[in-house]
Amino acid sequence: MTFSNDHVRRELREGQQAHEATLAPFDAALDQAFDPASTTDLATKAELVGAPSRRQLLKLGGLTIASTALLAACVEPPSTDQVAITGTLIPVPTTDVPPDPGSAEVDATLVLTAISIERLAIAAYQAALDNNWLEAPLLVQVAEYFRDQHEDHAGALSSQARRMGQNPDEVEANPYLMTEVLDPAVQAIEAGGGASVVQTATLTLAKELEVAAAQTYTKAGGILTTPALRQTIMSIGGIEARHCTVLAVVLGEQPVPFGLEPTVLAAPPDSYIAPNGPVSESSPTTEADAEAETETE
């Protein structure tokens, strides 16, 4: 196979544009963290700029299952047999968790925010399908499958929200993430650059949204106030993590980059969806709870 140099340069340039667009939120986070007025601690700053500890360096051996790269045949083959080491920065694994900030209001906020993230993911996959951004038929089927799973997740979360006195029907695809992540990425994708570039940019966007979802749910798992809620949210978070792995493999990235799921890329507080209904201190978390509460009344 031969490539024209102009074509390669064009693809690289447009790929870089897509990359920069998707990095915009990260840049904003850096600006915020390194603002002199910021209270961000040194460890977090180091984590943000990717200064690895000695221990992390030892773990950057990489996962090398090139022979099993799922769906790799569907995308442009890499130029070498070496599995890409993407430069993904591995945050310091830590079990340091903040003081429990949970409350019924926070519970409702996290569930509604989760719904908005699911709806954003559905919108992103739907756009990819409607606009034929994925050229490999197998990837199209996987995208349909993931979109449908996000619909199921949104449905389960909506049921949960109703049990908490909230109205999930009012929740749209997350507006903050739509503006900060999805729209810029879509602009870059629509700029074209060749089917392969478009497909890669689409997969990259999908992975970023899945990462945001998985990490948001992981964060919620340490905040939600009841075991039932935590179990529910992580029954979804674990699946988003699986989506991340599939997409990472297709993109030639490390399929399991962290030993402990980080939360640094979780949806930021600015993206949270506030409760839209009355929040009680004892929001029922299961149908059984709800029935018991009704009977008590």
């Binding site: 051996g61 299952i65 022979s67 340490g222 075991p227 674990g238 988003e240 399991v256 030993g259």
Partner: protein
Amino acid sequence: MAFRALRRTSAEIDEQHLAESGRSASRRRFLTRAAAGGAVAVGASALPLSSLVPGASAQTEEGTEPTAGTTPGTLPTAPEVTGDPPLVEGSDLTLVVFLQSIELTAVDAYETMVATGKMAPAVAETARQFSLHHTEHAEALAELAGGASVTDPNPGLTAELTPLIESGTNQDDMATLAYNLEERITATYAAALGALESWQAAAVASKILPVDSQHAVVWSQVLEPDPTEWATEITTWIPNFQSATDAIDIIQYPAS
């Protein structure tokens, strides 16, 4: 084949969210096909941990005296604390120590798999990497357990796994065991999250569950490297919701 046709409806999902009987059956079929001999028998049918916390011990037969750690529906005896005070207590501490012992078993299992020499170098490297992840998990759990933490793998689980690994004849056998182990550990965390009262313990479990679920996906790709074939079983590899159905039984496999 369109994946949509394979999906269950949202209504079914809602009903079967935690039961996931169809998925389990599908996985069992796969394991029957792919596994060598008893390689799938890592643990018997499990009870969700949420049914094992104190107060849920109604399974005791009438007329029998319940004994903690031996009666279905009760947790094993609380672990002994020597040294640093744990960050969690009560049934949470018992669960955390149990989870830690399972992580140590996973570390051991991967080391044993690599030692068999039946894995290709790249796959063995993956096993080593995942072993490191499980070491991290055990360390994170040890922080919670403080002076109650364990240093040995789960004796019952290790006793079952080790001979299965050693009798495996090829890489597929190793990958099947690894896949099954990771799926069951993931399910165990899903069950634990429904039982842990402490948000600190829940936070750690929430950081571990996604990683173990990703391990399972990677092993599924080793087992079925052809993308098209892999995709025909995508509902097994990536269910709609993470189930707790296949959780490892804390009663059957106490930490020590």
